[in-house]
C-alpha cells in the first residue's frame, strides 16, 4: 500500500513550485533527487557534519533533519542561489582565492553558514568566524583557509559598504 502523499507549495531559489511528497522524504533528498539541486550534500544524515546546510525562511538549517513535507509555504535557498547570474559572490570568490576548498564536498554547507554569519555580523573576528562555522566539518582543509577566506570576504564586503552580493 503506497503511503499518502502530501502536497507542498514552496519557493526554492526564487522559484515557486508544487510537489506531492511522502512524509518521510528528507528535505535533503527532495532537493537532490526531486529538484536535481545536487549542490547540497549529505555527509552524515544525522545533523553533525553540516554538509547539507541550506537556508529555510532566512535561517540556516540542516536539510537532513527536516522533512520535505514540512516545507509547505517555506522559502528555501541552497548553494545554487549564491551566484545566480554568473559571477561568483564575494564569499565564493574569496574561497577561490584563498584555496578554502579542496574536494569541495563540504563547501556548499560552509558557504551557507558563512553567508549567514556575514549577514548577522559584517565584521567578525577570527574567533567569531570559527564559532559560527563549528557546525560544519571539513576533513581536507583543516579550516585554516576557510577562516581566512571568510575574513577576506568580510573585509571586501565592508569596503563595498554592505553584505549584498554575499
Amino acid at each position: 500500500m503506497a503511503p499518502t502523499r502530501h502536497k507542498i507549495e514552496l519557493t526554492v531559489n526564487g522559484e515557486r513550485l508544487q510537489r506531492h511528497v511522502e512524509p518521510r522524504l528528507l528535505l535533503s533528498d527532495f532537493l537532490r533527487y526531486e529538484l536535481r539541486l545536487t549542490g547540497t550534500h549529505v555527509g552524515c544524515a544525522h545533523g553533525v557534519c553540516g554538509a547539507c546546510t541550506v537556508s529555510i525562511n532566512g535561517s540556516t538549517a540542516r536539510s537532513c533533519l527536516t522533512f520535505a513535507v514540512q516545507m509547505d509555504g517555506a522559502v528555501i535557498e541552497t548553494v545554487e542561489s549564491l551566484a545566480p547570474r554568473g559571477p561568483l559572490s564575494a564569499l565564493q570568490q574569496a574561497f577561490h582565492e584563498h584555496h578554502a576548498l579542496q574536494c569541495g564536498f563540504c563547501t556548499p554547507g560552509f558557504l551557507m553558514s558563512a553567508r549567514e554569519l556575514l549577514a548577522r555580523d559584517p565584521d567578525p573576528s577570527e574567533e567569531s568566524i570559527r564559532m559560527a562555522l563549528r557546525g560544519n566539518l571539513c576533513r581536507c582543509t583543516g579550516y585554516v583557509n576557510i577562516v581566512r577566506a571568510v575574513r577576506a570576504a568580510a573585509a571586501k564586503l565592508k569596503g563595498e559598504g554592505g553584505t549584498h552580493g554575499s
Binding site: 500500500m1 503506497a2 511522502e22 518521510r24 522524504l25 537532490r32 536535481r36 539541486l37 545536487t38 549542490g39 547540497t40 550534500h41 549529505v42 555527509g43 552524515c44 544524515a45 544525522h46 553533525v48 557534519c49 554538509a51 541552497t78 548553494v79 545554487e80 549564491l82 551566484a83 561568483l88 565564493q92 574561497f95 577561490h96 582565492e97 584563498h98 584555496h99 576548498l101 579542496q102 574536494c103 569541495g104 564536498f105 563540504c106 563547501t107 556548499p108 558557504l111 577570527e126 570559527r130 564559532m131 562555522l133 563549528r134 557546525g135 560544519n136 566539518l137 571539513c138 576533513r139 581536507c140 582543509t141 583543516g142 579550516y143 585554516v144 583557509n145 576557510i146 577562516v147 581566512r148
Partner: protein
C-alpha cells in the same frame, strides 16, 4: 599565502594559482557519486550487515523481505557462490599468510557490519525497509577484539586457510645491535597504544554500475582512489573481459586512504547490474561508513631508544603489533601497516643500529587498510616522544637532542638501518627554521617549571619527521605488493585549435591535480593555463596507472605529465624548426608561440594545424601526424620529503581540555608546483593529525560491537579546535625524479601526532606524565595528572584539589578579591 593570478608570463610551475577545479564546486555543480544523474530504472542496493562480531550463519530468511513492494531481488552469499571470486590479497613476502574475503559472507561472519545479503529495490528507502525484514539466524562464536586475544594459544582461528591469526610477521636486526644496545649509557622505553581510527572523508563511499547489453559493456562510477586497480580486479574476480569494463572516479569528496581498496560492494554492484540488466547504485551512509570502510592505526608499539650520555642516538628496538581487522585490504594487504611502521621508526636521525619484530594480526573488527600516513604518524610519535624523554633525562633540551642527531647535509645521501635511502633533504634546516619561527628559545626561556601561565599549563613540542613519497614499481615489488603496478601515465595532446588536453592515469580527491598538472603542461608547451585541460579518473581514456595515494601524485603523475609534455614540446620545436628554417634547439615556447631569434615566430596553433595536415605547409619528412605523447613514469628513487613541526598547547588543569595555541611547520617537498595546494595539504594533514591526537577513537565493546557508529560518538575536530598555522617552505629539489618533485600529502599528519603529543608532555612536565596512548581526551589528561608521582596517594583528587595544589597563585587570589569586591 597570496594567490597568483598571472596566467602565462614566465614559469607556471611554482605559482600560487587558484584552482581550475573550484568554479563548479563553489556553485554546487560538483558531480560526486550521489550527484550523478541516475539512468532511468536505476535500482538501489542496501546491505544486510552482520550484527555479530564472530558467528556462523545458520540460515537467512528473505521471504518476508522479498514480498515488500518495490523490492526486485535479494541475494545472499549462497546464491553467489562461485559466481564472484573472493578478494585475496596475496602479498609476496616471507611471513605472509593470504586470506580470502567473500563479497558476501557465506558460512561465517567476522566483524559487525560484514555484509551477509544484498537487497535491491526501486529506491533506497524501500531497500532499507526490506533489509530490516531479512531474518538471519546466527550461531555466535567467540569474538577476538584485540591483538592480545587473537594471539592466545587457544584463540579460535579466524580464517580456515591460515595457521593462527598472525597474518604477517617480520623481524630484523642489524649485526651489532645487541652489543650496542647492551652497552648504551641510557635507554628510554615505553609501550605506545594508538586507537583505531575511521578515515571519515566527508563524502562516504558509493558506486553506480551501468550495464549495456548490446556490447556486454559495464561502466562503474565509484568514489575511489584507484580506478584502474578496481577495473582489473573486477575483470579478474568476475571473470569479465577487461576491455569491456570502464571504471570512472567522479568528483570524490576526500579519500585519505579509505577509498584506496577494492571493496566487495564495487564487485557486487557491478555483478548485479549485469545480472539484473539494470543500473544498480549503492551509497554508503555514514553509519555504514564508520562500520565498513577500512579503518586504521590500531597499534601497540613497544619501543626503546638507546643513547650515549651526551645524547647521541645509537639505536632503536621495536616490537610492533597491528590489529588489521577481519580481512586484509586489497591491494595493499595485511603487511602495509606493520611493514611501514618498521621502516618509519628510525625517522630523520642518524641511527646505525635497529632491531624490530612486527606483526599484523587479524581480529573480529572492521578490516583495516591505509589511512593517511599509515603507520608513520604513530611510529614518529613513538620516536619523537622518546627523544624528548631522553633529552629530559639526560639534561638536554629537546631541540638540542635533535640537533645532535638529525641528518645534516654531509650525511646525505644516507641509507638508514633498514636500507631506506635518503638522497636529499633539509632535515636540519627545517628544524632550525621551525624553531626560529616558533621563537622556541624565547618560549623556553620564559617557561616556568610549573608550566603555569594565566591559570593554564603551557607546553611546546617539536617533531622532526620525514615522508616516503612517490614509491614506484620497485618499492611495490620489494614489498611484495604485486597488485599495485607502481607506475602512472600521462597522454598529452595538442588539438588542432592549439589547446592541450592531458589524460592522466591518477585521480583526485581534492589535491588539485587538475590545476597542478595543467601548470606543468602550460609551462612546457608555453601556452596559457586556460588552454590546458587535465582529465583524470576515467579508465576509458588515457594510459593505465596506479592511482592516487601514498603521496605519489606530484612525483609520478606530475612526472609523467612533465615528460609527456616535454616530448610534445620537442615535436612542436621540430615542426616549427622545419617551417621557420631554424635549428630546433634555438626555439623557445612561450605566450602560445614558438620563437626563434629576432622577430621570427609562429603560433602553436599553427604548428598544431600543420601536425593535423590542416595547413598548406607539410610536416617534415618522417614526422608522424598529430601532436601528442604518452609517457609512463616510474621513478627509480622514492624521494623523501621532510618537515619540522612545532606545536604550542595550553591545558586547562581543571578539565584536561587541550587547546592548540600555535602551530608552525617548516617543510620540504622538493620542487613545489603550486604553493597554495601544498599548504592546503599540510593544513589538512595537520588537522587530521590533531583530531586523532585529541579526540578520535573508534571503540568496540567486549563482544566486538562497535559503539562509535555516529559522528556524535566519533569526534572530529571542528573549526574551534584548530589554530591558524604558519607554513614555511624549503625546496630541495629531488635529483632522482622528473621535475624534482617530492610528495607532501601525508607529511602534515606524520608531524602533527608527535608535535602535539610532545607539547602536551611538555605542559605536563610537572606531573612527569608519559604520553603513550591516544587519543588525549580530557579524561586521559586528567588521569595523567592524577597518577603522577607528585600527587598524594590514597585519595581520589578532584580538579579543584588539583588546581589548589597547583597554584596558591596570584591568579586565584585576585579572582576571589575581585568577586568579594563585587558583592560588598
Amino acid at each position: 599565502m597570496a594567490a597568483d593570478h598571472s596566467r602565462n608570463e614566465g614559469d607556471m610551475i611554482g605559482r600560487a594559482l587558484p584552482r581550475k577545479e573550484d568554479d563548479p564546486l563553489l556553485r554546487g555543480l560538483g558531480s560526486f557519486i550521489d550527484d550523478i544523474q541516475e539512468p532511468a530504472g536505476t535500482l538501489h542496493a542496501v546491505f544486510v550487515m552482520s550484527t555479530h562480531a564472530h558467528a556462523r550463519i545458520v540460515e537467512i530468511d528473505v521471504s518476508e523481505a522479498i514480498r515488500l513492494e518495490g523490492v526486485v531481488a535479494i541475494y545472499t552469499g549462497k546464491e553467489l557462490a562461485g559466481r564472484i571470486k573472493p578478494i585475496t590479497s596475496d602479498i609476496v613476502q616471507p611471513g605472509y599468510q593470504p586470506v580470502k574475503r567473500q563479497v558476501l559472507a557465506t558460512d561465517r561472519v567476522r566483524f559487525v557490519g560484514e555484509a551477509v545479503a544484498v537487497v535491491i529495490a526501486e529506491n533506497r528507502y524501500l531497500a532499507e525497509d526490506a533489509a530490516e525484514l531479512v531474518r538471519v539466524d546466527y550461531e555466535e562464536l567467540l569474538p577476538l577484539i584485540d591483538v592480545d586475544q587473537a594471539v592466545q594459544a587457544d584463540a579460535p582461528k579466524l580464517h580456515d586457510e591460515t595457521t593462527g591469526n598472525v597474518l604477517f610477521q617480520a623481524s630484523f636486526r642489524t649485526p651489532r645491535f645487541d652489543e650496542v644496545f647492551a652497552s648504551a649509557d641510557h635507554v628510554v622505553r615505553d609501550s605506545f597504544q594508538s586507537h583505531r581510527l575511521a578515515v571519515t572523508a566527508m563524502e562516504p563511499r558509493g558506486c553506480l554500475a551501468v550495464y549495456q547489453r548490446r556490447n556486454d559493456n559495464l561502466t562503474l562510477w565509484t568514489s575511489t582512489q584507484i580506478p584502474h586497480i578496481v577495473r582489473t580486479a573486477i575483470s579478474n574476480l568476475l571473470d569479465w573481459d577487461e576491455t569491456r569494463l570502464r571504471v570512472i572516479a567522479p568528483d570524490v569528496g576526500g579519500a585519505f586512504g579509505g577509498k584506496c581498496s577494492v571493496y566487495p560492494e564495487e564487485l557486487l554492484v557491478s555483478f548485479l547490474a549485469r545480472e539484473l540488466n539494470a543500473p544498480v547504485k549503492w551509497i554508503c551512509d555514514r553509519r555504514e561508513d564508520l562500520m565498513t570502510t577500512t579503518q586504521g592505526r590500531e597499534y601497540r608499539f613497544d619501543v626503546a631508544l638507546a643513547f650515549r650520555k651526551d645524547g647521541t642516538l645509537l639505536g632503536a628496538l621495536a616490537k610492533i603489533d597491528c590489529n588489521i581487522g577481519a580481512y586484509p585490504s586489497f591491494p595493499l594487504g595485511a603487511s602495509v601497516e606493520a611493514g611501514g611502521a618498521a621502516i618509519y621508526l628510525p625517522g630523520t636521525y642518524r641511527m646505525p643500529e635497529y632491531a624490530y619484530e612486527t606483526r599484523a594480526i587479524t581480529t573480529t573488527t572492521c578490516p583495516s587498510g591505509v589511512y593517511r600516513g599509515v603507520a608513520a604518524p604513530v611510529a614518529s610519535l613513538a620516536t619523537e616522544t622518546l627523544m624528548d624523554r631522553a633529552a629530559r633525562e639526560l639534561g638536554l633540551d629537546p631541540a638540542e637532542i635533535r640537533r645532535k642527531n638529525v641528518l645534516v647535509a654531509s650525511d646525505l645521501p644516507y641509507t638508514n638501518a633498514v636500507g631506506a635511502r635518503y638522497l636529499t633533504g633539509s632535515f636540519d634546516t627545517c628544524l632550525e627554521r621551525a624553531l626560529a619561527a616558533a621563537n622556541y628559545a624565547e618560549v623556553r626561556r620564559k617557561q616556568s617549571g610549573d608550566r603555569l601561565r594565566d591559570g593554564k599549563l603551557h607546553g611546546i613540542g617539536i617533531a622532526s619527521v620525514l615522508e616516503h613519497t612517490g614509491q614506484g614499481t620497485l618499492r611495490y615489488r620489494q614489498r611484495g605488493i604485486v597488485y599495485v603496478p607502481g607506475f602512472d601515465g600521462a597522454q598529452v595532446k595538442v588539438e588542432p585549435n592549439g589547446r592541450a588536453i592531458a589524460w592522466v592515469s591518477q585521480c583526485t580527491q581534492g589535491q588539485g591535480h587538475l590545476t597542478a598538472f595543467a601548470q606543468i603542461v602550460a609551462q612546457e608547451l608555453g601556452i596559457s593555463i586556460d588552454e590546458v585541460t587535465v582529465i583524470e579518473g576515467d579508465t576509458g581514456f588515457g594510459p593505465y596507472g596506479t592511482g592516487t595515494f601514498a603521496s605519489r601524485g606530484a612525483v609520478i603523475a606530475g612526472g609523467a605529465t612533465l615528460r609527456a609534455s616535454t616530448r610534445v614540446a620537442e615535436k612542436i620545436r621540430r615542426i616549427a624548426a622545419h617551417i621557420l628554417k631554424v635549428n630546433a634547439s634555438d626555439l623557445k615556447l612561450s605566450n602560445g608561440r614558438v620563437y626563434a631569434s629576432g622577430e621570427t615566430s609562429m603560433s602553436i596553433r599553427e604548428v598544431a594545424a600543420v601536425a593535423h595536415s590542416m595547413d598548406a605547409r607539410a610536416l617534415p619528412d618522417g614526422e608522424s601526424f598529430g601532436l601528442e605523447a604518452t609517457d609512463y613514469y616510474d621513478p627509480q628513487v622514492a624521494p623523501t620529503s621532510n618537515a619540522a613541526h612545532i606545536a604550542q598547547v595550553s591545558i586547562d588543569p581543571a578539565t584536561g581540555l587541550v587547546t592548540i595555541e600555535s602551530y608552525v611547520v617548516a617543510h620540504d617537498c622538493g620542487r613545489v608546483i603550486n604553493p597554495l595546494i601544498v599548504e592546503g595539504q599540510i593544513h589538512g594533514g595537520i588537522v587530521q593529525g590533531l583530531s586523532s591526537v585529541l579526540s578520535e577513537a573508534l571503540r568496540y565493546d567486549q563482544n566486538g560491537q562497535p559503539i562509535t557508529v555516529s559522528l556524535m560518538d566519533y569526534l572530529l575536530s571542528t573549526s574551534v579546535d584548530c589554530p591558524d598555522m604558519t607554513v614555511l617552505h624549503e625546496e630541495t629539489w629531488s635529483p632522482g625524479t622528473a621535475g624534482g618533485f617530492k610528495g607532501v600529502g601525508e607529511g602534515g599528519v606524520i608531524g602533527a601526532l608527535p608535535a602535539i603529543a610532545n607539547a602536551v608532555a611538555d605542559a605536563l612536565v610537572p606531573f612527569d606524565a608519559k604520553i603513550n596512548r591516544l587519543p588525549l581526551l580530557p579524561h586521559v589528561i586528567v588521569e595523567l595528572m592524577r597518577s603522577s608521582s607528585g600527587l598524594p596517594g590514597g585519595h581520589e583528587s578532584t580538579a579543584l584539589g588539583e588546581r589548589n595544589r597547583l597554584h596558591d597563585s596570584v591568579a586565584v587570589r585576585e579572582e576571589h578579591a575581585q568577586s568579594h569586591e563585587c558583592i560588598s
